[in-house]
């Protein structure tokens, strides 16, 4: 059984059709890159997988391990192992990063019928994970993302991913707003999480990120559906030729 099966997905946002019969299968252990021009539906796909309200599925289905997730609330999907690294992580004033992480981790574990982490176990996990991503203790005490730079926010997303250990990680333009050093730190963080039991969907506009996170497969999205699938060399080809061919073809 494939880990993720997206079947003929049609999605509307505020009456506007964005995904238009998108079908895609992702296997366990696979890192799949999704590339495409602006407005092709990449971020919409990410949000639909995570269950953002106002993204209305009008047709099709999304199966995680053979089970439809479309009727599940975002928190239930998270407990099943879906994780979205946001393109624009939000600032959460008044909620300390540590409190947020612990609440999220324990909520997921509770939903799955697992025991809560003890405080020392949790502290060790966070300390080890944050150190690898160059996130200071001071950042952990501060409210989630408040006053963080773009790069710090992205690192924080990857730290959350490393702590929550999802089965399906969706990275929405994780490279945007990162300088080359930050890109490397973030990519290393993602690569450490590659595992035969985990699938990753890496959404990006540029090929650059894929030099660091090397995909097993590349899907090209245009006008709300997959128009081409290939190996990692497809990304290089797109970098050279641009998306013009697909934008024209789908029109």
């Amino acid at each position: 059984m494939s880990m993720l099966e997206i079947k003929n997905l049609h999605v509307e946002v505020e009456g506007k059709k964005i995904l238009n019969g998108l079908s895609l299968t992702i296997e366990k252990g696979q890192v799949a890159a999704i590339m495409g021009p602006n407005g092709s539906g990449k971020s919409t796909l990410a949000y639909v997988l995570a269950g953002k309200p106002a993204y209305e599925v009008t047709e099709g289905d999304v199966l995680l391990d053979g089970e439809s997730i479309l009727d599940m609330a975002p928190d239930e999907r998270a407990a099943k192992g879906v994780f979205l690294a946001f393109q624009y992580p939000v600032e959460v004033p008044g909620v300390a990063t540590m409190t947020f992480l612990r609440t999220a981790l324990n909520a997921q574990r509770k939903t799955r019928g697992e025991g809560e982490f003890s405080t020392p176990e949790f502290m060790k996990l966070v300390r080890d994970t944050s150190a690898k991503l160059g996130i200071s203790q001071e950042h952990l005490r501060r409210p989630v993302n408040v006053g963080f730079s773009g790069g710090e926010k992205k690192r924080n997303e990857i730290m959350q991913m490393a702590i929550l250990q999802p089965r399906l990680a969706v990275l929405d333009e994780t490279d945007s707003g990162l300088d080359i050093d930050a890109l490397k730190i973030v990519s290393d963080g993602v690569n450490r999480l590659r595992s035969p039991d985990r699938a990753m969907v890496v959404i990006t506009h540029y090929q650059r990120l894929l030099n660091y996170i090397v995909p097993d497969v590349v899907h090209v999205l245009a006008k709300g559906r997959v128009v081409k699938t290939g190996g990692k060399e497809l990304a290089l080809e797109l970098e050279a030729k641009g998306y013009a061919e697909f934008v024209g073809e789908a029109a």
Partner: protein
């Protein structure tokens, strides 16, 4: 002619007239005090209960909300005092000196008086002080901040008992002083309590005023004199049924630090008003509050801050969380006198609406006569941010818990400003309890 001719008195106004007529001979204080009462009552009679066309009371129309005026509470008997002992307040876990008033009357047996008395702190009852025309009380009562507010006039006319506290120069009591006003029963009854607190030069005190009531009408006024270079943290809380009008009249000296925090949770009908005058230069003040309201709760925080001296800084931050059909009101008026240059005054009010039918009213006013000042205000009202909620849920936090966390954060940002750790924790616990009942 803009004098309103009042030919018809409401039932409540008539009842108040009868109450005053019947009670005035027995109310504490003769001579000057009696005259103070008569004058105050005349001011009330001339204007009646404030209503929506009185700008300061626009959103809390007492004429409509106070259909009847309850009779004055009888002094508590032994059974009432026993019942009152069972009232467990928000600050049970905080080490503090309690001064308990039951049905508006000082209850020394329930208070912490003799044991552990603080050096340089004197505590007494207002009724006793008025009866013997105590010089401290006579020097201050009715004089701390000038106001023509009708609720204050009624309080002055009918004031029965209250606390008289003097904290000597340079004295820092080692624990907060807690004024507890509680009703011993759920009979409809009214009490008019008046307190005077004088914090002398360089003294530092944390004072709590809490109201625990069932179905009473309570009109409380506190006159607070903050001396030069003194520091006062003043916390007041309101809970329970009934009508509560709590007025704080504060005069703040030079170089002083003055913080207030008004907390209301599950309070049916509350008018918190503060009249604060910066009388000396270089004062710093933080005036904050949180209201947690549901059902048909109505809480009105009205402030009048007068910058009468230069180089003072004031910060106002009020937040309300409203569910069901609750109403919150914030009225903040900052007056900067012509010579109060370099005033730095900012106010911010935010309301979090958890239902479609809750209503938040916000009315900031700036009246500036000086030309070199920094003054600003901001107001927001809205639902929980769906983007924030989704972010939390996408991390596995269930909807209810995500909302609670966000509301808690909204409240916490203001509560965090309370300096006293025990009080801060107690109010966080009270907030969580309110959230838990959602």
């Amino acid at each position: 002619m803009n004098v309103e001719l009042r030919q018809v008195k409401t039932e409540a106004e008539q009842a108040l007239s009868v109450t005053f007529k019947d009670a005035r001979a027995a109310l504490p204080g003769k001579g000057d005090v009696a005259k103070l009462r008569e004058d105050a009552f005349s001011r009330f009679e001339a204007r009646g209960l404030p209503h929506r066309r009185v700008e300061e009371w626009k959103y809390t129309d007492l004429r409509t909300l106070m259909r009847t005026a309850y009779p004055l509470a009888a002094p508590p008997d032994a059974a009432a005092l026993t019942r009152a002992q069972q009232i467990s307040g928000l600050f049970a876990g905080v080490d503090r000196q309690r001064l308990v008033f039951i049905d508006g009357v000082f209850a020394p047996d329930l208070s912490d008086l003799t044991e552990d008395a603080e050096e340089g702190v004197s505590i007494g009852s207002l009724a006793a002080a008025l009866a013997k025309a105590d010089p401290l009380v006579m020097a201050h009562v009715g004089k701390t901040v000038a106001t023509d507010d009708v609720a204050v006039a009624l309080n002055t006319a009918l004031m029965g008992d209250g606390a008289v506290i003097r904290i000597g120069a340079g004295v820092t009591p080692h624990r907060p002083i807690h004024l507890i006003f509680a009703a011993s029963n759920d009979r409809p009854q009214a009490s008019y309590v008046r307190s005077l607190i004088v914090v002398e030069k360089g003294a530092q005190a944390t004072i709590i005023e809490s109201h625990e009531q069932l179905s009473a009408q309570v009109n409380s006024a506190v006159e607070l004199v903050v001396g030069d270079e003194a520091r006062v943290d003043y916390i007041r809380t309101a809970r329970g049924r009934g009508l509560q009008i709590a007025t704080l009249l504060a005069s703040v000296g030079a170089g002083a630090t003055f913080n207030t925090f008004a907390f209301a949770a599950d309070a049916e009908l509350v008018r918190n008003q503060a009249f604060i005058r910066f009388a000396g230069e270089n004062t710093t003040a933080g005036l904050r509050g949180v209201s947690l309201l549901r059902n048909k709760d109505h809480v009105d925080n009205t402030l009048l801050i007068e910058h009468a001296a230069a180089n003072c800084q004031s910060r106002e931050q009020f937040r309300a969380v409203l569910d069901n059909d609750a109403h919150s009101v914030f009225q903040g008026k900052i007056v900067v006198k012509q010579h109060a240059q370099k005033t730095d005054a900012k106010m911010l009010t935010r309301a979090l609406l958890l239902s479609e039918t809750a209503e938040a009213y916000s009315k900031p006013e700036l009246e500036i006569f000086a030309d070199d000042v920094v003054c600003g205000h901001g107001a927001t009202a809205g639902a929980l941010d769906p983007g924030l909620k989704f972010y939390l849920m996408a991390r596995g936090i269930p909807e209810q818990e995500a909302e609670a966390l966000l509301i808690q954060a909204f409240i916490g940002e203001t509560v965090e400003e309370i300096a006293h750790e025990g009080i801060r924790e107690a109010l966080i616990v009270a907030s969580l309890k309110w959230l838990g009942a959602r």
